[in-house]
Structure formats: C-alpha cells, structure tokens
C-alpha cells in the first residue's frame, strides 16, 4: 500500500470513499483497515490548533480550511484539508491523505491532486501552496536547529580537548 486517500461524500447516506493506491476500494474490510491506518498517522500533527487559528486569520481571503494540517514522517507524508466541492448542505468535503512514497509535502500534494481529480474532486491550490511553504519553513527551521546543535557540539568538543590537553 503506497497511498491512502479518504474523503466524505456529498450525502451522509453514501458511505465515505477510500482510494488505495489511486483506486477506489469497494471492499469494506480493506477500506476500514486503510482508514484505521490513516488514523494512526494523524496524531500530533505539525500545526497546533493555535497555529491554525493564526493561519486562518492571516490568510482569511484564501478561505483556509480549519482542518488544514500535515506531518512529514521518515517514511511518508500525511496531509488533511478540504476539497473545493461541497456536500448537500454546503459544507466543504474533507479529505485525509497518506503517501508512503513521498518525502515532502510538495510531492505528496501532486499525488493527492492527481488522485482527487480521478474522483472528480479538486484541491484548493492556494491552500496547498500555503501548506508547501509552511512545510518548507518548518524544514528550514529544523535544519537550522540541527546546524546549531552540531556547532555547539563541535565547540564543546574543542573546549574539552583544549582544557583536557592543558
């Protein structure tokens, strides 16, 4: 299993749709297994509720989904948000997407877009670009933090060496 995409349908009477590796899964047991797996990856996501509130206020004009979130794992990327399409009461349809083949949000977003189109759904491109830029800034922050720790370690090592010798 490389990718899992879950989405709700237009009516609550129609069961939710699960796409496994880009194909609609009609087997209830497999769908449930895939859904359970999705739910194993949506804990402690990158954006906290506070971050999302800030985002929503900052990008009010982009109509950012209140559920927009992501997490990059060592093996795969998880993204959640809303499609442009709405259900019969006018609410945007949510999705959860897990991609084990991608290493970045940008890559995963491309796959998500392709798979969504197969179902006749469209991702909010402004929202996706926003997510990509946030993930890049998080990645940069992480890299800078790592560089800082490495620098500190080297400094400590040099100091130890210096005083050890003296």
């Amino acid at each position: 299993m490389n990718t899992i995409l879950w989405t709700q349908n237009e009516s609550p009477d129609i069961p939710d749709t699960i796409l496994i590796d880009g194909k609609v899964c009609n087997n209830l047991t497999d769908s449930q297994k895939a859904f359970n797996q999705l739910n194993m990856y949506n804990n402690n996501l990158t954006l906290s509720p506070h971050d999302r509130d800030k985002l929503k206020r900052k990008y009010e004009t982009l109509s950012v989904s209140r559920q927009l979130n992501f997490k990059v794992y060592s093996r795969g990327v998880y993204i959640q948000g809303c499609f442009m399409e709405t259900d019969k009461v006018g609410r945007k349809l949510p999705y959860m997407f897990l991609d084990f083949t991608s290493k970045s949000v940008e890559e995963a977003a491309k796959t998500l877009k392709c798979q969504a189109e197969k179902m006749g759904r469209n991702t909010n491109q402004e929202e996706i670009s926003l997510l990509s830029s946030i993930s890049t800034s998080y990645r940069d922050k992480k890299t800078n933090k790592n560089k800082y720790y490495i620098f500190l370690l080297i400094l400590l090592f040099i100091l130890l060496l210096y005083y050890g010798i003296v």
Binding site: N42, Q67, G90
Partner: protein, 232 residues
C-alpha cells in the same frame, strides 16, 4: 431479566436516599482533580458535533466544512458562577468508518461520552433511526463492559453519569412532533437494554442554545467544577 434494581428506592427508602445524595457530591468534590475532564463527542453525520464543541467554547460556528479530524486545545467555560475545564482532544466526523476506529477508543479513554443525533431525522427517517439505535447499542455495550461497581452505584443514584445524549435540531420539530417526541422515542427503544440512555440522560435541544447545552452538561455532573467563581 434484570437482577439489579432499576429504582434506587428499592434499595434505600425515602428519606435515606435523599440524605445519601446530599453527601456524595461533597465526597466527589474533594476527590475532583483540577485537570478537567476529557470529552468524547460521537454521533451521526450532520448532527451537530462540531457545533456542540463551538457552543461549549463560546465560539462562532460557521458551517463551512464537514469534519474529518480536528484537534482542539483545552478550554474552560463558566456557567452559574462555576467554572469547568475540558481537556484537549479530537473532534471527529460522523461516518460509519469512525465507529470502528474511534468509538471503542473514546469509550475506553474519555471521561465523558456525548452522543449527538438529529431528532427530526430520527422521527422521519426509519433507516436513520435504525443506524442511531445500532450505534447506541454499541456504545451501551462498551460502556457496560468498562463500567466498574463505582460507576454502577453512581449511575443508579443518579449522581454521576459517563454519558449524555443530545437530540439536536429540536427547534426544527413541528408542534405535533414536539408533543409526541418523548413517547415516540421511548417506544422506539422499548425493551432494549440501552433504553435507559434515552430515559435518563437525553436532552432534546437546539445545539446553538449555549445556556441549555451547558446546563444539561453539568446537570449530569459529567464535568468537574474546578473553581467556584462565587467563592471569590
């Protein structure tokens, strides 16, 4: 056949029960923690689960998007000079798939279980009503599996219950429906074990009505008061 007493007066005759009831909340208050309670809101699709969270948090809810998974931070609310705290958690959707993934987990881990369903659809749509009952039966079974002797005692003494049922969209009922709603509901679950949930802990309401929602939530003593503003 029910081996355990249904009515408390079968165990403690009047006024023993009333006296007992006065003392138990005092003991419970002493043991209450200040961390707040965790809330697990389960329910049917489009029933108003997110609306309920927003109502409790006193936030404006615009019906812009359906819910998949939405984490919310810890929050407080004040009612009648009493302050309550709700732990952070997850707002989940109402689809069938959530049942297997989350219902058992929530019943096991959360302090209070809230089930929300649309009362108008329940009365008008047989399939919907059947689905509600099937979910309630599942919840009841799991609650009973987890219940200890203390839960049972607190429940029959009507002191502290772990679950609340919100029959939402109560404002959309016709006058005729409003007149018969309770009897229709009770008839639909007659003879079922989980019928107790309907009898004891169900509130028909409009989930936008904050005062009612808060009153109902604390009426069951489900949520712990951690700070009395009156005493300040």
């Amino acid at each position: 056949m029910r081996l355990l007493p249904r009515n408390i007066y079968e165990i403690l005759p009047f006024p023993m029960y009333e006296i007992f009831k006065m003392f138990v909340p005092i003991v419970l208050d002493v043991t209450t923690t200040v961390e707040g309670k965790s809330l697990g809101v389960l329910g049917m699709p489009e029933s108003g689960k997110t609306q309920l969270y927003k109502t409790l948090k006193n936030e404006k809810y615009t019906q812009e998007e359906a819910t998949s998974i939405d984490e919310y931070p810890q929050f407080d609310f004040v009612i009648k000079g009493r302050k309550f705290k709700v732990k952070s958690g997850k707002d989940i959707g109402g689809g069938e798939m959530y049942m297997q993934s989350y219902y058992e987990k929530f019943i096991k881990e959360k302090d209070v279980i809230v089930f929300v369903f649309d009362i108008k659809r329940y009365l008008e749509d047989l399939t919907y009503a059947r689905k509600v009952r099937s979910r309630l039966e599942f919840i009841w079974r799991k609650l009973m599996e987890k219940a200890g002797i203390m839960d049972y005692i607190l429940d029959i003494f009507e002191i502290k219950r772990r679950y609340i049922l919100f029959a939402s969209h109560g404002d959309q009922l016709t006058t005729e429906q409003k007149k018969n709603v309770k009897s229709e509901l009770f008839n639909s679950v007659q003879g079922k074990e989980y019928a107790e949930m309907f009898h004891n802990n169900m509130y028909i309401t409009d989930l936008r009505d904050r005062k009612n929602c808060l009153n109902y939530s604390i009426k069951q003593n489900c949520l712990d008061e951690y700070d009395s503003l009156d005493s300040k």
